[in-house]
């Protein structure tokens, strides 16, 4: 569905050149759900704009839905759907007018555009808002209208740029329900950008981590976390028990670390599957007569993955 080679984009000229995207090689197969994850300014949106033909690449090539984005941008646009970060519907227009005219923009005839608009109003629960002015809609209603606008021509490939930014949890869940339905019922290929770690983690099958305009990791979230971070277990023991505790912990896990916590010592170790290995560790420690005062299992997030990859936290980066 998508194939890019050494895709780059710079802005400005002379000494002020900003290399927003520095060579992206990416393949996305039909039916995949891919999330671009990275801090603000990492080049996610710029990449998405090139893939949707909204921005010409500085160098490199991109084929999207079988067509070259530079050679035939209009044809690419007719085969894809794009839902941007801001409101897609014009504030001074009526919901119904925006939807059916969007159908006309994609080449549906008058009747087909109206029929399709009706279907989407119904499917996205917008029927009662049909003749409302867009400016009077709530944030969640506007977002549902954006989805309807993006789906008017039933594209096989849908791009979403930061789809859930600024949404409350209920609307975000609602959005994901629609995306999930699109995939299961239509097999739509979906590419989205996000800086919400939890979202990429729970929803995407494949996470492409982008930083400074380059892909620094590309795998399913579970693989990323297992390979690049791993689970951590901590146990708090008496200073007198540190010796035997260290021996046991060293056998069960790796990357052992110690630090004093209050009157005790905390041992931290990295393991493959934390929840499964903790009971065995505790049992062994008890057999050795070590009294464990507290124990925790920390399972990695994509933020840990990002930290391992870049030495920076994605949360800090998102604020910068």
């Amino acid at each position: 569905m998508i194939h890019t080679e050494a895709l780059t984009r710079s802005f400005g000229s002379g000494k002020q050149v900003v290399h927003a995207v520095r060579g992206i090689d990416l393949d996305v197969a039909e039916g995949e759900l891919v999330a671009f994850l990275g801090p603000n300014g990492a080049g996610k949106s710029t990449t998405l704009r090139m893939l949707t033909s909204l921005l010409p690449p500085t160098s490199g090539t991109a084929r999207v839905a079988g067509l070259d984005v530079t050679a035939d941008p209009a044809a690419v646009r007719s085969r894809i759907g794009y839902i941007g970060q801001k409101d897609g519907a014009g504030h001074n227009y009526r919901v119904w007018d925006e939807l059916r005219m969007q159908g006309r923009f994609y080449g549906l005839d008058r009747r087909a555009a109206a029929a399709r608009a009706e279907q989407l109003l119904d499917s996205l629960d917008l029927g009662s808002l049909k003749m409302r002015k867009v400016s009077t809609l709530s944030g969640g209603q506007k977002r549902r209208l954006d989805i309807a606008l993006g789906l008017i021509h039933a594209p096989g490939l849908l791009f979403l740029d930061e789809p859930s930014t600024g949404m409350d949890p209920q609307n975000r869940a609602n959005l994901w329900e629609h995306i999930a339905r699109l995939r299961t019922e239509r097999g739509t290929t979906i590419v989205l950008t996000t800086h919400y770690l939890e979202e990429a983690d729970s929803m995407a099958e494949r996470v492409v981590v982008i930083d400074h305009g380059e892909i620094i990791a590309d795998d399913p979230p579970a693989v990323l976390k297992a390979d690049l971070a791993g689970d951590r277990i901590t146990v708090l023991v008496d200073p007198a028990d540190v010796g035997p505790a260290r021996a046991v912990a060293g056998r069960v896990g790796r990357e052992l670390a110690e630090r004093p916590v209050g009157a005790g010592v905390e041992l931290a170790l990295r393991v493959d599957v934390g929840p499964a290995q903790l009971p065995a560790l505790l049992r062994e420690l008890a057999d050795r007569g070590v009294a464990v005062r507290a124990a925790t299992v920390h399972q990695p997030t994509l933020d840990d993955v990002f930290l391992t990859l870049t030495g920076r936290s994605l949360r800090e980066g998102a604020d910068a």
């Binding site: 909204l54 209009a74 519907a89 923009f105 499917s123 039933a154």
Partner: protein, 270 residues
């Protein structure tokens, strides 16, 4: 919530190949629907040219003396008013666009396969649509006061104005894109350019009595030729060479406007 749309059994809509004319029609229709949903704006826009005609015309007749009295003044001044409302309308094409750039609707529309030129032409034609109604009302109101109506000539005049208006609309569109980060810049530039252009076209007052530099400025103002052409057409002739000059000025403005506008769209990120 039912699921007919997303289900695999729902028919995939058939996309036809669109021509530029279809694109222009679609963009025009989207914009015009806002007038249709809110027809009051149209009623108020009808009053503006009538006020000009009613309050300015009599004064002008007094100033210019014998040559332009009575029906003569109207015959001279009315085409100018029609050009003026065209300029007011089309030079504001970009103002709605700026709001749409800000809210995001423009980006959504750019992501559709619509032709870029059609985006501008459609929007400019929307600004020109009320003009047809306005022109008819002005002509109807002026007729009892001695204005002689030549319907075919007026129609030709409106077509010529349409071509010119699309060019001005496209330039306004490009200005809105250039000033997308500072809204006031759009209005500052639009106002600063609009009035000198209008005055230096001899639209409101004859320039024959003005100083030499004004006449020179008028000679390089494309609007001058459009105004002269409109006066000739509204006067009921097709033979005046001013019409050809006006047509050339309008076509050039249109071509330059669309070229600048398409470049502005392609060269900007939103």
């Amino acid at each position: 919530m039912s699921t007919p749309v997303l289900s695999p059994t729902a028919a995939t809509p058939q996309l036809s190949r669109r021509g530029v004319l279809t694109d222009i029609g679609s963009v025009w229709q989207r914009e015009t629907l806002t007038i249709l949903r809110d027809p009051f704006s149209l009623i108020f826009s009808l009053l503006q040219p009538l006020i000009f005609l009613g309050l300015f015309g009599p004064l002008l007749a007094g100033v210019t003396g014998d040559g332009l009295t009575g029906g003569g003044t109207l015959q001279w001044f009315l085409p100018g008013v029609v050009v003026m409302i065209t300029m007011f309308g089309t030079s504001m094409t970009g103002s709605n666009l700026q709001f749409e750039i800000m809210t995001g609707a423009f980006e959504r529309i750019l992501a559709t396969p619509l032709s870029r030129a059609a985006l501008m032409i459609g929007r400019a034609l929307k600004e020109l649509t009320p003009l047809v109604v306005q022109a008819l009302v002005i002509v109807l109101v002026a007729t009892p006061f001695g204005f002689r109506v030549h319907p075919l000539h007026i129609l030709a005049g409106l077509v010529l104005l349409g071509v010119f208006g699309v060019g001005i609309g496209a330039l306004s569109y490009a200005l809105a894109i250039a000033a997308r980060k500072a809204e006031w810049v759009f209005w500052a530039v639009q106002q600063t350019l609009l009035f000198p252009l209008l005055i230096l076209s001899g639209m409101m007052l004859p320039l024959e009595t003005g100083p030499r530099w004004m006449q020179l400025a008028a000679a390089v103002n494309p609007l001058t030729y459009v105004v002269d052409a409109e006066r000739a057409l509204f006067g009921g002739t097709f033979a005046d060479p001013a019409i050809l000059h006006g047509a050339v000025a309008a076509s050039l403005t249109c071509a330059v406007g669309l070229w600048v506008g398409v470049r502005a769209i392609r060269g900007s990120t939103f």
